[in-house]
């Protein structure tokens, strides 16, 4: 295993260098200096104690949504709706967070539960449509993202709007519903630890439990799983719920750990980045942790890039993601090709 990794390293470096070169070209094209951008990116991600904490703060939602996507993909379900599930999770969490008269001890758990449940519900729509109406989940989850976006837009102007009715945003959530901060002077909150714990939990679930086995069996060979008596429909539905719950939880953690309020355009695309996170991790729940850290660093870094360098907007992170993914796809192709050649290449 380790040997194979070492042997594949040059290939990995090559494909990612190609990606970096392409990226540098794009940055030059819009009139900025690739060196300055890389410097800002590094500073923003790892340059100081604060930027390090920001990287971790960005990692948490990516970790959870990335897990959500990975779980779905492992079951052979193209849930591309983590973004929408994240948003409804944030909405539900806000709804609970701004409630008064909730006993302090249960306010945070209740908020998290609401977020997870809302995410599960949202993703469950796609699950029901797939299982009972044969609607491709790729389409339904994507469309649900847009519906969630409009729902958010309505929520922050309607039911969840702040009492003063000034801006399209909610009131701050109650203090007991917030995650404790872990390091003074930073935004690092305890929700990051919860996200990490979830990664371990999902790993355990997939590896050791009968439910996780059913999920993987359906994803690896639906026909064989069905013939063996695994209830395919129920597994698919449950996977949609689990996947959505993870993304919904991400939204809730973001509310109670970082922003404390809901606003229009709430997500900078965590749910889409999650797809890249899951793929780069090869859909392994443990590998999602470093993968999310990598994209978290990119996101934190690109925020600084945007502040510091003229002409490079925050959407640069999307280009970054695309380039990373393409490099990874190219790498996977080259590795497969080599493997096949080694196996003798029988036609």
């Amino acid at each position: 295993m380790k040997q194979r990794l070492l042997r594949d390293l040059p290939l990995l470096l090559l494909t990612f260098s190609l990606g970096a070169a392409a990226l540098a070209l794009i940055i030059r094209l819009v009139g900025a200096s690739p060196v300055a951008v890389s410097k800002a990116l590094w500073d923003g991600a790892f340059g100081s104690r604060y930027s390090l904490s920001e990287t971790l703060v960005q990692t948490a939602p990516l970790l959870l949504t990335g897990l959500g996507v990975a779980v779905a993909f492992r079951c052979g379900l193209f849930n591309i709706g983590a973004e929408g599930q994240f948003l409804v999770g944030a909405m539900a969490a806000t709804g609970v967070g701004i409630l008064k008269n909730v006993p302090a001890v249960i306010h945070l758990p209740l908020l998290l539960l609401a977020g997870a449940a809302a995410g599960a519900l949202w993703s469950g729509i796609a699950g029901l449509l797939k299982v009972y109406r044969g609607v491709q989940e790729v389409l339904s989850t994507l469309l649900l993202n847009f519906v969630a976006l409009q729902m958010l837009s309505w929520m922050v102007r309607g039911p969840l709007q702040e009492a003063q009715k000034g801006f399209p945003q909610s009131d701050l959530i109650a203090v007991p519903a917030r995650f404790v901060l872990l390091a003074p002077g930073t935004r690092l909150h305890a929700g990051v630890l919860l996200a990490l714990f979830c990664a371990a939990l999902i790993w355990f679930f997939l590896r050791w439990t009968a439910g996780g086995f059913a999920l993987r069996a359906v994803g690896s060979g639906e026909g064989a799983a069905e013939a063996a008596g695994i209830p395919v429909r129920r597994t698919v539905l449950a996977t949609f719920l689990l996947s959505g719950a993870l993304s919904g939880l991400a939204g809730a953690i973001q509310i109670s750990g970082v922003t404390y309020l809901l606003s229009d355009g709430y997500s900078p695309g965590y749910g889409y980045t999650a797809i890249a996170v899951a793929l780069l991790a090869n859909l392994s729940p443990l590998a999602v942790v470093p993968s999310a850290l990598f994209f978290g660093a990119l996101t934190a870094g690109s925020n600084v890039v945007q502040q510091r360098i003229v002409g490079i907007p925050s959407v640069v992170v999307q280009v970054l993601q695309a380039v990373v993914l393409l490099a990874f796809l190219a790498y996977a192709w080259a590795r497969e090709r080599r493997q096949r050649r080694e196996e003798g290449g029988v036609a």
Binding site: V30, R133, L139, M151, Y272, I275, P313, V317, L320, A322
Partner: protein, 308 residues
């Protein structure tokens, strides 16, 4: 309602249908040869920007449209490289393409506006073929409509059409008949890119007369749903995209009707504008649910093919 109003509603619907229709024709050809392209959204977006920039710089809407066509094709070449030649999962490649398009158009558009290239020069509009002002039909809309029977003829009344359909069903049979399956799929990907480029141009030049970031707003995804809803048939795609465009136009008009406004206000829902904006997506979902499992996609959809 007066005839004038009806006419203007119809023409507006046609104009709104054009981007989705063009993209869905692209998607339809792709899926007919067995390629599933989630990247229609990104291709539309890139086409929309290319058209605006090129038209402004050259001062010619026609050149803008042509450049959009080429740029759409160029980005689609990237999709074809990864999704067909390197046989990566097409859903993943398409999703990546969407990231890339969203990020690139955002960066490039800002750089372009900041550099002042767009400055003084006005954006030349698409010349209306019929009528003028709000009751008009531009060239791209007309082209989109004409492409429907053309696509139908190509698919069902030519040898090439037989080959295309066979490639999406049993690529081995097409290959045995002498078709280079991968090459054909790459070419169709380029065609799809070109059609989406045109669709993007019809959006930015024809409807909005401007480019804004992420302006496609899921039209590419709706186009994919239109392909399914239209049963992989060009006339079906036309009907479906008209339906969605009509709903789009209707919701926009409905909001301005005083009675509707009063009724909504009486419900105390706050700002109801997002409801209308969400309508096309909800409608698409409902349409897909109704059509449901009764439709059968091409048998080899999304399957990689290796020449023996």
């Amino acid at each position: 309602m007066t005839t004038a109003l009806i006419l203007s509603l119809v023409l507006q619907s046609l104009a709104y249908a054009a981007p989705v229709l063009l993209a869905s024709l692209g998607g339809l050809f792709s899926e007919r040869v067995g390629v599933v392209n989630i990247g229609l959204e990104g291709l539309l977006l890139v086409g929309a920007l290319a058209a605006v920039v090129a038209a402004t710089v050259t001062g010619s809407a026609l050149l803008g449209v042509l450049i959009a066509l080429l740029v759409g094709g160029a980005l689609a070449a990237l999709f074809a490289l990864f999704g067909v030649v390197l046989r990566r999962d097409q859903v993943i490649v398409g999703t990546t393409l969407n990231f890339l398009a969203l990020g690139l158009t955002g960066m490039l558009y800002r750089a372009w506006s900041a550099s002042g290239s767009g400055g003084g020069k006005p954006l030349p509009p698409l010349t209306p073929i019929v009528g003028d002002g709000s009751t008009s039909l531009n060239a791209l809309t007309l082209l989109a409509l004409l492409l429907v029977p053309a696509a139908h003829w190509l698919l069902f009344r030519t040898r090439l059409g037989v080959i295309l359909r066979a490639t999406g069903e049993v690529p081995e049979a097409a290959a045995a008949g002498g078709t280079a399956v991968s090459r054909l799929r790459v070419l169709v990907c380029l065609l799809t890119g070109g059609l989406c480029g045109l669709g993007g141009a019809s959006l930015s030049l024809g409807i909005s007369s401007a480019f804004t970031e992420g302006m496609t707003n899921g039209r590419g995804f709706i186009a994919l749903a239109v392909v399914v809803f239209g049963r992989w048939n060009p006339f079906g795609a036309l009907a479906a995209s008209l339906l969605f465009a009509a709903a789009d136009v209707a919701q926009a008009r409905l909001q301005t009707v005083a009675g509707v406004q009063n009724w909504l206000a009486s419900l105390h829902l706050g700002d109801t504008y997002p409801f209308f904006l969400a309508l096309p997506y909800v409608l698409t979902l409902v349409a897909l649910a109704i059509r449901g499992s009764k439709v059968r996609p091409p048998a080899a959809l999304g399957q990689p093919f290796e020449q023996g």
